[in-house]
């Protein structure tokens, strides 16, 4: 007679691992692989830190020519840049590698993931964890610190909370964009190439004051892809300014809500994509 392996064995003190610990184990295996070469890892973190500053150089150069961009000062735009950089680099660390999906599909590794009793998305997310991206987040924090010194914010407890929550919500929004971008590759072979416009393009755009864009672009990147909630709208709230295109003030505080909606949309898109893959793949 066949013996079913019970989920808990009759052994003294044997702990049955939780579902979470499976994912933790997967991530830890990635981390140890990364830290093997200590010197190389330190260099990588440093490189990411430098990359953050090279990125900032665009804004620096622009403000060498003007003292205001789209109605915002250097410090204010720097703050938008910093909030975006923190959010994006963290999302990149957690989920950025999911753009490897087409490769995994091609090599059969994705099918290998589907054979395991874990969610496919969960496995993809834990398939890597680029700790080095924190280097770029550090740049963001530094610029943020400097920007806060030079901006005139009327601090209230609500604004303080908003400052802390914004990068978190922003990270969630970018994570959702990454997942949605990967899901597209279930339908389009070159889906990730196409979706780069929204992931990396979104990062670029979110770090800038929206007032410089055509209204159509602003609306698209507010209500379709919620990039505005990453930095621009929260910055308006922190500065106590109104959106020139007439968006309501409460919207500027709705980053977390936008993040939740984005996450739900991304999850839906992913499930549909996976369904399509299982139904149509060879």
């Amino acid at each position: 007679m066949v013996e079913l392996q019970p989920l808990g064995t009759a052994g003294r003190g044997d702990a049955v691992p939780s579902l979470l610990s499976a994912y933790v184990a997967l991530v830890r295996s990635r981390l140890s692989a990364q830290m093997v070469y200590r010197g190389s890892f330190a260099f990588e973190v440093g490189a990411q830190f430098g990359i953050g500053f090279v990125d900032f150089a665009e804004i620096y150069v622009v403000f060498h020519q003007v003292s205001s961009l789209g109605g915002f000062s250097f410090a204010e735009v720097a703050m938008m840049f910093a909030l975006t950089t923190c959010a994006f680099s963290m999302a990149d660390m957690f989920v950025g590698h999911i753009d490897g999906l087409p490769n995994y599909v091609r090599t059969g590794q994705f099918d290998a993931m589907l054979l395991r009793p874990l969610s496919a998305l969960g496995q993809l997310v834990t398939s890597d964890f680029s700790l080095r991206r924190l280097g770029r987040a550090m740049t963001g924090l530094l610029v943020l610190g400097a920007a806060l010194v030079f901006t005139d914010i009327d601090w209230t407890p609500a604004r303080l909370l908003l400052l802390v929550i914004t990068p978190v919500a922003g990270c969630a929004i970018f994570c959702a964009i990454f997942v949605a971008a990967a899901a597209v590759s279930f339908w389009l072979v070159e889906g990730t190439e196409f979706a780069n416009a929204f992931t990396y393009g979104g990062n670029y755009l979110a770090s800038l004051p929206f007032t410089i864009f055509h209204v159509a672009v602003q609306r698209f990147f507010t209500f379709v892809i919620p990039a505005a909630f990453v930095a621009y709208l929260p910055t308006l709230a922190l500065l106590g300014r109104k959106d020139p295109t007439g968006l309501p003030g409460w919207l500027c505080w709705s980053g977390p809500v936008a993040a939740l909606i984005a996450a739900a949309a991304a999850r839906l898109l992913w499930r549909n994509g996976l369904h399509h893959y299982v139904g149509a793949g060879s």
């Binding site: 007679m1 066949v2 013996e3 079913l4 392996q5 989920l7 808990g8 064995t9 052994g11 044997d14 702990a15 049955v16 691992p17 939780s18 579902l19 610990s21 499976a22 184990a25 997967l26 295996s29 692989a33 059969g108 590794q109 099918d111 290998a112 589907l114 054979l115 395991r116 009793p117 874990l118 969610s119 299982v278 139904g279 149509a280 793949g281 060879s282």
Partner: protein, 324 residues
């Protein structure tokens, strides 16, 4: 029944360039109208040439591909819908795709799988010990998977599939590319596993010698369609294909063309190696070997099975056209 498959069909669309600017769509049917069942504890050999639809069927049993039409049920579950639940009760080995972690030592793969299948450390370690003993894996457990030979890796893959002691084991071309020794070791291990735990097995392969030792029953699949469902002896006798006994003599000898019920196919190296074909329904391997050793002294011998393409071809030429 552990596996129930009814009128299973799987189509997929293939796009290819017909000219510089044109593209066309073709619908390819990988699996067409297949119906069969597997009872608990049974071992089913699922035989077909490359591209016959074996892998696609196995994928549909695991839920990583969905049927275009038809019904499939494994362990009482619908594979696509309940993929993760099913994955706890089934193990799979794909000969051409690895499920191990490429850049980690082999034992780390088992550690991760233990966590993934939510097995207490002691449980998966005991299981690993068992398999490592039987498959002689101890010397390369700490080697990174990418540095393993194919034979070593396949032993790892089979262990990985059986780590959580599943009710059902699906194997897709597990012996492809392996040398004879490794093949035999793997087959022996699977036979042992079956008799010890009564695991139900589906073995999809194009190599008939794989299933000879293990399967109670076989299904032949050809171009997506079920061509035969019965036992191996029944298939061989119906098809009338020959098995071949290859003998290596201790010293060159005369052609063995007078062994009863055999046909001398070829002689090599002045009679040092000879190929004797015989039909399963006329005589048995044991009888032929006995007759040969009575005549000459043998250094080595091997039996080759008919090629699957040969079997399938003869299947369609044989008097009874429908699978029983």
């Amino acid at each position: 029944m552990i596996v129930e498959v009814e009128r299973l069909r799987r189509d997929f669309v293939v796009r290819h360039k017909t000219s510089r600017f044109g593209r066309s769509r073709d619908v390819v049917t990988a699996v067409a109208d297949v119906t069969f069942g597997i009872n608990a504890g049974e071992c089913l050999g699922y035989i077909g040439a490359n591209g016959a639809g074996k892998s696609t069927t196995v994928k549909m049993l695991m839920g990583i591909r969905g049927p275009t039409s038809g019904r499939v049920q494994v362990c009482g579950l619908e594979p696509v819908r309940e993929r993760t639940v099913l994955a706890r009760r089934v193990g799979a080995v794909f000969g051409q795709r690895s499920q191990l972690w490429w850049d980690l030592p082999l034992t780390d793969s088992f550690r991760l799988l233990g966590a993934i299948h939510r097995m207490p450390d002691r449980a998966w370690q005991a299981r690993l010990q068992e398999c490592a003993d039987l498959l002689d894996m101890h010397e390369f457990l700490t080697t990174p998977v990418r540095q393993l030979s194919l034979g070593q890796r396949m032993r790892g893959e089979v262990t990985a599939a059986l780590l959580h002691s599943p009710e059902l084991l699906l194997l897709d071309e597990p012996t492809i590319g392996l040398d004879i020794v490794s093949k035999e070791r793997l087959r022996g291990f699977l036979a042992e596993e079956r008799s010890e735990r009564g695991t139900t097995v589906l073995l999809a392969t194009h190599d008939l010698s794989d299933i000879e030792r293990l399967s109670d029953r076989i299904i032949v699949i050809d171009h997506g369609r079920l061509a035969f469902d019965g036992t191996l002896p029944a298939l061989v006798s119906r098809v009338g294909a020959s098995r071949v006994l290859v003998v290596d003599l201790v010293e060159p000898g005369p052609p063995l063309d007078d062994i009863p019920n055999t046909t001398l196919q070829s002689v090599e190296a002045d009679g040092l190696r000879q190929h004797l074909a015989f039909r399963a329904e006329e005589t048995s391997a044991a009888t032929v070997i006995a007759a040969v050793t009575a005549r000459v002294e043998l250094r080595d011998l091997a039996i080759t099975e008919p090629a699957i393409e040969d079997v399938v071809r003869r299947l369609y030429l044989s008097p009874h056209q429908d699978p029983q």
